[in-house]
Symmetry: D2
Subunit: 347 residues, 4 copies
């Protein structure tokens, strides 16, 4: 059994890792870490895990963490992993899968500019592997430190990478209009997650300023060989889970909806967690809720010469904990689907 | 007192007209019409109007309708007004404000192609005035037959028309990503409005095929003098009321966010129902819920050279019944704001 | 014009008072007070009131408050009014309508025990009139200080008072199972109003310990002459507005559903804001949303010998700001319905 | 591998059975049956199951059903199982677990009176075992035909049975105020599940007339030896999944909250799916969402002499498909928890 440690167990990312790992046949949840509630049983924070026999919360201590786990998941706010992960790497003994954004951006300057804080040490940023499993499986398999992708970049990149590699879409033309449930904002309190403000309402936020923008641009460039801007706009939707990305690209080639469909199907034929839905369909976020799927549908508007891609994920699963476990499976040579639920919770 | 008749009183559009008109100081709700429940008290269908002393439901009959009302609102499914409005016009005696799409498209061919049904008689389509009050106030004042704008076109056009008139945005570059509450689908039953399917989920629908697309293009061309395609995508959001339009345009001129802000403020300075919000803000649909406002905010992304406009309305009010009453006020030389609530229902 | 001041303008209660008072024909919103944001425009806190020309926020100062207003509404947290209202009363010059619980309980000991804080001065508690308009209209008309009822007591008492006065129900048998939207918890932040925790979930809270319990018992006793316990349980429902009370009483008399129906209809025949719905019906909270109505329906279960009353209000309107304005209308000899919307926002 | 057949695969009950059974290690989903869509792939109805390799939909035919399955789940509307299950029983070869109400009521007259239709043959009703697993485990183990409990009775009985067996509560005093999400109403269309009607609203329904009332009374009597009425009121809450039961009983004995707590903990000590939460806590339905748990909390109000029990389940899992699989596990001597998720989906 692989001994797993989870840092940030009292947050939503931690809770979701626990949900999935409890059912994982090759894993033992060995340690839960929290800076805020050490010594406590987790069920004081999260009654839904009552009766599971989980370990009590331990304080964050790099030395014991590296000794007591085969892999540590960091489900922590920006900045924590930048300090902790290098310590764990230098101590050795455990692999690290970081769910925060601290090791995703290769450029320290970009991190500073978009995250408004100091980046992690460049040496470790370079060694980290970007864990978009479907596109980096080989590197992930050999990684000690995985930067797990952000929720928006996951839904966006799985749809855009094959399109950009095809050469059919004009670079710089992508407009990514993304819609997310509230759980992505975490368990911290703010007026932005107050029920009475969010319910029965929708709004955009951080227009042209969201820190997932450079992550999308970086990985799109790496996978396609073409650098370009992506216009990215997130919205907050009155629901708890789910992301829908509606992405618009200007077609440069004379290519039909059916050709794109076939290209996407071929691209993801052997990827168990990407489902290319029938051309012209409209995936609902609920159709992947609770699961690790990313469902993608393609539309071509012949009138305007644009391709419109629809991509849905559960932000807590494929957008966070599920993909992290998928990466763990790859790192430990386990079956890619181990421990990951195969049927969404519907309705 | 103006005698008002409402056709389609058992639908959501009819209910919203009643809500607003009951409080209108110069109006008497003289007649309610319904094809499905004639003779009944409306409170059998809508208990929320109990005790208001409304007239019972009458059958739809052009002759008595033209005799018994000064103005008739048609809140009816596509196709009804195409037959009924010409009869009422020919009988004379009453003005007509049509909330359906039957008289909005000048081209019968476009109507046939997007609505998949036969258009209204061309003669009356030509005489109808498109009731986007802020831009057609003079024509509305003299109209007998007003085609009240669709909900999506209202939110879209109020944001896009001034931009297109400015000449700052590249024609054909507009991408309009719209998000709507469920009430826009009406009270009819379908899996598409089933609570368990819609709650905790978001999805796009009718990608590249929504019948409000040609309406947007037609009016944008008329007001700006430039014909061009608009990429329009509607989404269904788990909420009852509200539309948010996120519109992306490619800037051709070297224009700042502040210049666009000032242009918008100047454009709508004397329009009581358009509120240009501070540059860079993010309006929530809930901030206009229950009111006739359209709130607009502008963002310029200097990195990508795009302008992003955010526009929110309550689809039942400014997107339907409220704008219809605003048009009635103009047609009958009443104060434009008469009977229209000035403060949104928040939270 | 009556000059109105609102204390707590940056909370939900304040916002709702503004919504309703802006449309009130005999009222001028003269002053808005806030301890937290003085000098600011309210639209910095509440963008939905942009463009209304409201006065800026003033600091809380009893002297100027008493001089500058004919009536002051206190929409403030527990404890504020206990200090401020006596000052205003002693200065004279303005009437006070207190939306908090500070002057509702006649027994200081009960206040101390249920609210866990010191009660207001007994002298002023005695002079305050409990503003359940339908049952205390005469006293309200002569009052200088009105204790506006709590949201749960309003929905409960309007259903229970006539039943207890009838003598048909066994004292002490009432079980009041109440369900509320989240806005009742105010705008302050806590995990208890976090969207991701509340959405798609329901739970009871403060079972047997809610501070509205003694308020219900006190007024029920005063109006019926019979002292008894009421079992009161509140629940939090994933919606913003609305309260549904389901009240169970053991019938002692051999009385039919129809007899109770007639008694209720007679009781409220001339009360414009209580609608007795047809016997056996099931009111939805949405059928009163945004309005000042309390809709009541009666069921008699002959099998078990119990009466079940269903009572719905909008907690922000009849449960707070609307009833406060109703009381103001009575205090200033205005029409009882002035400024209060007559048609709920549906859907 | 146990060969499982599911009748009603295009409904929500069927979908939930599939979700859980796909992950069951000892089960093969051998056949899916539907009267409405035979021959089709299920993903045409439910895109969320795309790519699972499920069998296509077969027509309902008793002969092949009995030959091709070891157990058949009936997730069908009232009346279907009454006809089909006796055929399957007589053919032999397969066990049946009926999720509908057709075999739950022992009295044909009661069925006729509450369900308004003809009961199943008395012979088979007598042979059916009521599958409240925690209380009937032995009988379930030997059963060929299991009547799987209703969602409301499950949440209610697990809380009430131990209380009634204790003799501490006055018979006939139980008031069960239940709150349910919308999925319990199934996938059929009606105004009662229309999003715009249900969202942001709560209401009671079928007051004193719900068909789960006699089921609760029957089983409570059987398990406690005392016949008595239960006052049962269901409510529809704007959420998809979850039931909360708030049950009020009059204490006859001088018993403390702590004593009841200990009794409940002892009763369910070895039952993996009942979690007795700390005394005085307030379980949220979301804390069991997606799981087979029933979480119960006890409150004693010493002021009124009542016990208040709070009981939460996911109506689709412990209230339907999950308990059905728990029964299957017992019938086939599998571990009771096999295939049932152990961690709720939170948030």
């Amino acid at each position: 059994m692989i001994r797993v440690g989870i840092v940030g167990a009292t947050g939503y990312g931690g809770a979701e890792l626990i949900r999935l790992l409890v059912g994982h046949p090759q894993v033992q949840i060995a340690n839960l870490y929290s800076s805020s509630a050490e010594g406590d049983a987790l069920e004081k924070t999260f009654p839904h895990v009552s009766g599971l026999g989980l370990p009590n919360l331990s304080p964050i201590d790099a030395k014991s963490m590296s000794a007591d786990n085969d892999v540590v998941f960091l489900a922590t706010p920006a900045g924590v992993s930048a300090g902790l992960s290098p310590q764990l790497m230098e101590l050795g003994g455990t692999k690290v899968i970081d769910l925060s954004g601290d090791f995703r951006l290769e450029s320290g300057e970009a991190y500073r500019s978009w995250y408004k804080r100091e980046p992690a040490p460049a040496e470790w940023v370079q060694k980290a592997v970007y864990g978009l499993t479907e596109w980096n499986q080989e590197q992930v398999a050999g990684a000690s430190l995985v930067a797990n992708p952000g929720c928006y970049p996951t839904a966006t990149l799985l749809a855009l990478i094959p399109m950009m590699r095809s050469g059919w879409v004009k670079p710089g033309s992508w407009i990514v209009d993304a819609k997310s449930g509230v759980s992505g904002a975490g368990r911290g309190m703010s007026l932005g997650v107050h029920y009475s403000e969010i319910n029965e309402s929708i709004h955009a936020y951080k227009v042209s300023k969201h820190q997932h923008t450079p992550e999308i641009e970086q990985e799109l460039a790496k996978q396609s060989g073409v650098e370009s801007f992506v216009q990215f706009t997130p919205h907050l939707v009155p629901m708890t889970r789910g992301i829908l990305v509606t992405a618009y690209g200007q077609l440069e080639a004379d290519v039909s909806q059916q050709q794109i469909q076939e290209m996407l199907e071929a691209t993801y034929a052997d990827k168990p967690f990407v489902r290319v839905r029938p051309a012209g369909s409209h995936p609902h976020t609920k159709e992947v809720l609770g699961s690790n799927y990313c469902d993608i549908a393609v539309h071509v508007d012949e009138r305007t010469g644009r391709v419109i891609l629809l991509s849905v994920i559960d932000n807590m699963v494929k957008g966070a904990a599920g993909q992290a476990i998928q990466n763990m499976n790859v790192m430990f040579q386990l079956p890619e689907k181990a421990g990951l639920p195969l049927v969404p919770v519907f309705p």
